[in-house]
């Protein structure tokens, strides 16, 4: 990291505004036209530092005990930049052996070992790391993730909890923790953790979007599990995010549609008003770029509507059946379809008065479904 700052002529820890200013100043001095090689270095430094908005926020270590330790760190950085994790791991191991006072090498070794798949070693060294500074949130976090990688989920959960209590708040970690909360049935805690991400007032980048959708999916699920009426608030938040980041959302229509359809299950618990979800579907329709996307949304909306109808005490069994036939019965042959329809129509005739009453509700609240039945209902008997 230090060398990236150095290339842009900055001190480590410079702000994003300073980084940007420095980049453009350097480009003027080394334009792609006049100095393509130096330009590429400047560009790489800028892209890395721009991306590292959160990553820059990591553990702080004391200065190296020895100038040679600093040299080894440079070498490790070079290997890392070249993407050669095995060399990073070996160099960290060597450095840690030579300079046991520099705990930074142990910290980097844990990460490198885990990334190389040496999860057993990562766990052992992670435990060692935490034993040296039991309150260090970054160390606790690395240990938790190493436990997970090794498959020690129980230990991972407890370590996550400790890291969280110690104040670890980076989004990757919070998502991991929330996932563990779900595994161990700690839905209240999970909800609290995810809200911390969703309520952040920040400009999300394109790369953040999959994570953000996961956060909302998790929140929906936790609200369902805990019967929490803040589900409405979750969906409203999702609508806002979808509108603001419309251009990034088209790729994730499937996930978004599934998420909204799932809320249908929550209707019976009275923790959400259907209008909120209908509104979310509306926003999704605006996001769609292709006909296939629109079909995905349409289908999810039908599923949601079915949940609504099943849940609506004013709608009787006959119309529930009718809905199922029209919307949920896929891939049956024409004969069966016809038979099912006739059957439901007979029932409708039998219960004519109630059906007419219910049809009025459909006309107002379920117009799409009403249209399908309209001809039959209006037909004089």
């Amino acid at each position: 990291m230090d060398t990236y700052y150095h290339i842009l002529g900055l001190e480590p820890g410079a702000s994003q505004a300073e980084i940007k200013k420095a980049y453009f100043r350097m480009v003027r001095q080394h334009s792609p036209e006049s100095d393509p090689e130096q330009f590429q270095k400047i560009r790489e430094a800028y892209e890395q530092l721009k991306k590292g908005e959160d990553a820059a926020d990591g553990p702080v270590f004391p200065p190296f005990s020895d100038p040679w330790a600093g040299k080894m760190m440079e070498q490790i950085d070079n290997y890392r930049r070249a993407g050669n994790m095995e060399k990073v791991r070996d160099a960290c191991e060597e450095a840690w052996r030579l300079f046991p006072q520099d705990i930074r090498f142990l910290y980097l070794l844990v990460i490198a070992q885990r990334q190389c798949g040496n999860t057993g070693k990562a766990v052992r060294n992670g435990e060692l790391l935490v034993s040296k500074e039991p309150e260090n949130k970054w160390f606790l976090k690395e240990l938790a993730i190493s436990y997970l990688a090794r498959g020690f989920t129980q230990k991972a959960y407890l370590a996550c909890e400790k890291a969280y209590e110690a104040g670890c708040r980076d989004n990757d970690f919070l998502l991991t923790y929330a996932f563990e909360c779900n595994e161990y049935g700690e839905f209240e805690r999970g909800k609290q953790v995810l809200w911390e991400i969703a309520r952040q007032d920040r400009r999300w980048l394109k790369e953040d979007i999959p994570e953000l959708i996961e956060v909302y999916s998790g929140l929906v699920r936790f609200c369902y599990e805990t019967q929490d009426s803040c589900l409405g608030e979750v969906m409203e938040g999702l609508c806002r995010v979808m509108e603001q980041y419309r251009i990034y959302m088209a790729e994730y229509i499937q996930e978004l549609a599934e998420l909204a359809a799932f809320t249908g299950r929550c209707l019976g618990q009275g923790i959400i008003e259907y209008q909120t979800v209908t509104r979310a579907f509306e926003v999704m329709r605006e996001i769609c770029r292709t006909e296939e996307d629109k079909d995905i949304v349409k289908e999810a909306e039908n599923t949601f509507c079915f949940s609504r109808i099943l849940d609506d005490p004013r709608i009787g069994e006959t119309l529930e059946c009718a809905y199922e036939i029209y919307y949920e019965l896929h891939g049956v042959d024409a004969q069966t379809m016809k038979f099912a329809l006739t059957d439901v129509q007979l029932c409708m005739v039998e219960e004519r008065d109630e059906i007419l009453e219910q049809a009025e509700i459909l006309r107002q609240e379920y117009p799409d479904f009403y249209e399908k039945l309209e001809d039959f209902i209006k037909r004089p008997q």
């Binding site: 940007k20 200013k21 453009f24 100043r25 480009v27 003027r28 334009s31 792609p32 036209e33 006049s34 393509p36 330009f39 590429q40 560009r43 993407g83 400009r203 980048l205 394109k206 603001q244 980041y245 419309r246 251009i247 990034y248 088209a250 770029r289």
Partner: protein
Amino acid sequence: MSTIIGIDLGTSTTEAAVIRDGKPVMIVNPEKEIITPSAVGLDPSGNWVVGERARAQYLLSPENTAIEVKRKIGTDEEIKLGRQAYTPVKLSAKLLEYVRNYASEFLGEEVTRAVISVPAYFDEIQRQATVRAGMEAGLQVERIINEPTAAALSYGLEHMEEESHVLVYDLGGGTFDVTLLEMFDGVLEVKASNGDNKLGGKDFDEKLMLWLNEQFMNKHNVDLRKDTYAMVKLKEEAERCKKVLSTQPSCHVSVPMIIEKNGAPLALDEEVTAERFEEITRELIERTHQPIDVVLADSGVLPSEIDRVILVGGSTRMPIVAKDIQEYLNILPSQAVNPDYAVAEGAAIQAGMIQGSIRPEEGIVMTDVNPYTLGIRVMDEMTDDRMSVVIPRNVTIPTTRSQIYYTSWDDQTVAHIEVYQGESSIASSNHFLGDFAVGGIPFGKAGKEKIGVQFSYDLNGMLDVKASILSTGKEASIEINMLENKTSQNNRIDVSNWKESPIARQFRTAVRRGEKALKDPKIQYEPFLEEEIEECLYYLKEALVEENLEAALEAEEDLMEVLSDLE
């Protein structure tokens, strides 16, 4: 050094500019006009006519005149002038030659070098064809510049102190481009480009022609499309009508005698309102939305963060364009100072930057992106035709990126690197750029050996691809000149005199067996094996020439292994 001029070779019109005292100046043609119609033809005595004269001739003898050649550039399609067929490159060259001549006249010196603009979303084939046209016209093409980038440069030179995100919306005669830039401290950074190579003002004309023809058929039951003359008149009227509707609420289209039916002349007579025109072209304008979305997503800029939308290209004069942008992005766009000149001026600025007449210390500095994804074909569990991305689209150039790959099967000795360009996840659906092989991979289980592949892409459209076997350090590479469609193998030495090597003797039999195998008729059914044998033979001979016994023994072993597959 002779002066480099900037040329905007457009679908409907062509312009040229040059830098004078640090500012672009438009070059006038012999008719004392800045705008030259992009028309080329042959007059009755068989002489070439270009520009305004060719455009005038088009009405009278469309069969001897070519217009909108740019729409066909990069294709194999030929264009007929009279009885003779010409390639789009040849006709574009005629146009450029005309520009070269009048620019030489204007500057009082022989012009031999140019920067030519193309739509950002032109693919490599179209770019290469444009370069060839330039060369045939006697111009050394110093750089191909993207049109929206050029337009932004001409805007940027006037607004150097601004700090903003600018979206350049370029709807020309035949192509649509959208580019997002960031201006900061005198640097103009292109963040992303996208577009539609088949969407432009001509499509709006065509929609209107179709609609007029439909009305005509309803009234008279005669299809105008069957008559060349009627279609030329219809086209002219449609173009005129489109222009009128840019300023008037309606336009009367009237051609008293457009065609004959049973010996009686029929008249085309139709009132076209602006609303009607918008209705029939709505579908076209909606096609601009997806490229806009892609550019915003790739650049990571939200609509609310755009400070300014600049309209470039004659077709942005249609009111529907500004209206649609305002609805879609909620920003009121502004017309470039002169949408017809901006691109040529920008090309001239780029020329000035190359030449040094615009200096980075005092003037503007620019960075650009590669608009298409670059990668190689790889094998995975599902298919052997997956596109693995090495340089994603809309990355700032020059750039160097690398990826690590693994051997796909046990004892694989050669890795074939096929380079592609395009957005499909199926490699072979993309545009093939070149291939090469790196051999001498040590034996081992599939996935054991790592092959590092590195792509370097520079401002002049040179793509350097290097592959190396990480465990041995053996390398091979290829250089692809994207602009001239030339590839060259590197790191290959001349091995023809291998026999003179002092250690050649004991390997003669092996070489002879390998060469014999290549002549074996069976080999033609095994193209893959053939390549492997060629590779092994090369490495053996290389080792001999370098007098490296160890490597020679290794190569011999590889060769024998491969040959045993043949038996």
